[in-house]
């Protein structure tokens, strides 16, 4: 079974003009999260979708999704966690308890705020997770990456040709990520900024899947403005 896990746990505190969590802001005719869920809903490679969102938003999220795609048992809306790790843990727990997890189960995790993800990216994630156990969606870095230990001076400038920017989806063999995640120390868990790191710190390989520059994450008001301009005929009015 292949399960899409849409992470919509962010509080939205980074949006300047509204308290509404950013995934619920309108893009075109519907909320950002609905566009994202639709991409997973129509992909025949995805068997089930879990949407993980703040508790107060569970019912509204269900309503929005139902309004767009009708009543369906393909989508479950559950509570996310405080952190990204907690949300991942909730997704894995839900799979274990309600969907069943075996050696073939794949989890395709994706940010609710990346509605421009394409059919190919999702399909290639599923393929890579099945074949390699883990994959990350990336695009080559167009900017030079600069590393600084103290935030004041450059420590290292890595070779740009070897640098990529991480996007989502990130997809995994569910049993493998659950097992690796549980084996991490509390300190290791705290150091996780990215689910793929669960694999890399344990020396496990993560396959790269080619993303798209336009698979943007709508994090800041600027991103929303860009997204609205990208979507034909829709212009940001703020």
């Amino acid at each position: 079974m292949v399960i899409g896990a849409i992470f919509a746990g962010g509080s939205g505190s980074r949006m300047g003009s509204s308290d509404t969590p950013k995934q619920y802001l309108m893009l075109g005719s519907k909320p950002i999260i609905v566009h994202t869920v639709e991409k997973f809903f129509v992909n025949p490679g995805i068997d089930k979708i879990i949407v993980l969102c703040p508790k107060a938003w569970i019912s509204p999220t269900r309503d929005m999704i139902e309004k767009s795609i009708g009543k369906t048992d393909k989508v479950a809306v559950i509570e996310g966690g405080k952190t990204r790790n907690d949300t991942l843990q909730n997704a894995l727990d839900y799979i274990t308890a309600h969907l069943g997890m075996d050696d073939e189960t794949v989890i395709v995790t994706h940010d609710a705020v990346r509605p421009f993800v394409t059919h190919r990216i999702i399909s290639e994630n599923i393929e890579a997770a099945k074949k390699y156990g883990a994959c990350d969606t990336v695009v080559p870095s167009s900017d030079t990456i600069v590393e600084s230990d103290n935030g004041g001076f450059i420590s290292v400038i890595p070779e740009r040709a070897r640098m990529y920017q991480g996007q989502t989806p990130q997809s995994f063999n569910a049993k493998k990520i659950k097992c690796l995640f549980e084996s991490l120390t509390a300190e290791e868990k705290n150091s996780l900024t990215d689910a793929c790191k669960i694999f890399t710190i344990k020396g496990e390989k993560v396959r790269l899947v080619e993303g798209e520059v336009f698979n943007i994450k709508i994090t800041w008001p600027y991103d929303l403005k860009v997204a609205r301009v990208l979507l034909e005929g829709a212009f940001s009015d703020d």
Binding site: L27, G28, S29, K30, H35, E38, K39, F41, V42, N43, P44, S68, I69, G70, P115, F116, T118, H119, R120, E210, E212, F214, L230, L231, E232
Partner: protein, 341 residues
């Protein structure tokens, strides 16, 4: 749902845009597998249409020849994974007399409306036909072009008188190849003659009874009926040649697109009592008939494999350009885009 659409914005410039589509009950979503470039696409790509036309039609996603895989159908008429041919013509009105491809109200993809260069194609169940299991995808990609030939033959069948001993096809390009191949199988009693200008290309028409280079002196041949598949600047010469060689009361099918007006020897048209008809594009019935022909005559899709030219894997806009530029240099065969974008 947001869909990425790859539009021609000006000659040789393709950009991605994003359009919102509804998951409505009558919507079927198809993921392109292979696409084929048509001459009409090239005219837009290279900016060979009039400035007025370019202004009116662009930006627009090109390509109307495609084979795809069903991704989603809310109504369940198609199952995910089924291989289908999307029909680029979308009628918006009913008409018992005028065929859907001639109605002014019909929309045609990649001619005023976005074509198939998209992440996913949003269409209707009645605009899809299922592909027989054993047809090569590269051949299936240009099924639309085959359906245009099927449409022309069906019109010919209704309009031409019954003496069909020899049928001439003017044009040694892709369309001439497809059309004459169909005639060879659909009219086994007829002799099929191909008239062209390039000996090498004429040598590809191995199934024809005769191939004739129109530049050679003393063409002592006559045909009962003729199909003109030349188009462009050569249309006038070809039609003139047909009028010379066709028997009285013969029927001439005009299929080649010419940008400029074409002079016509009306004296001989009148004197011989000729019948000229135009044929363009195709409709659902022609696509269905094409599938029947693929099933009934297994040799036809096999012959069509010879038309498959460059197959370009497309993972970037640069790859789309590569396919179009390779196609420009090709003098025979179809350029196929393997859609991995």
């Amino acid at each position: 749902m947001i869909n990425a659409v790859y539009q021609l914005v000006s000659p040789r410039m393709i950009d991605v845009t994003y359009k919102e589509f509804e998951l409505k009950a009558d919507t079927v979503i198809v993921r392109p597998l292979r696409l084929a470039i048509c001459k009409a696409d090239q005219r837009y790509y290279q900016g060979l249409r009039s400035a007025e036309t370019m202004r009116a039609k662009l930006p627009m996603a090109l390509i109307h020849e495609c084979v795809g895989s069903v991704v989603y159908d809310a109504d369940g008429a198609f199952q995910p994974g089924e291989t289908v041919i999307p029909i680029p013509n979308t009628p918006s009105t009913e008409d018992e007399v005028i065929a859907e491809n001639y109605r002014r109200s019909s929309m045609f993809m990649s001619s005023g409306h976005d074509g198939f260069l998209q992440d996913c194609i949003f269409t209707r169940a009645d605009r899809l036909v299922r592909l027989p299991a054993d047809v090569n995808f590269d051949v299936a990609a240009f099924t639309e072009l085959v359906s245009v030939a099927v449409h022309a033959v069906s019109r010919f069948d209704k309009l031409a008188h019954s003496r069909r001993g020899t049928i001439g096809v003017w044009g040694d390009g892709n369309f001439g190849f497809i059309l004459s191949l169909l005639l060879r199988y659909l009219y086994p009693e007829s002799e099929i003659y191909i008239f062209g200008t390039v000996d090498e290309k004429l040598s590809y028409f191995t199934f024809a009874h005769r191939t004739i280079n129109v530049g050679a002196a003393g063409m002592a041949v006559r045909v009962d009926h003729a199909f003109e598949c030349v188009g462009g600047a050569g249309s006038e010469i070809a039609i003139d040649n047909i009028i010379d060689l066709i028997e009285p009361e013969g029927t001439i099918a005009l299929l080649g697109v010419a940008e400029n007006q074409v002079g016509l020897n009306t004296r001989m048209v009148l004197e011989k009592g000729l019948r000229l008809f135009g044929s363009s594009r195709s409709g659902k019935a022609d696509f269905e008939e094409t599938m029947n022909i693929y099933r009934e005559f297994e040799d036809i899709p096999r012959y069509l494999e010879n038309l498959v030219g460059d197959v370009v894997e497309v993972r970037s806009i640069g790859d789309i350009h590569k396919a179009f530029e390779l196609d420009i240099r090709r003098n025979f065969g179809k350029t196929i885009l393997k859609w991995e974008k």
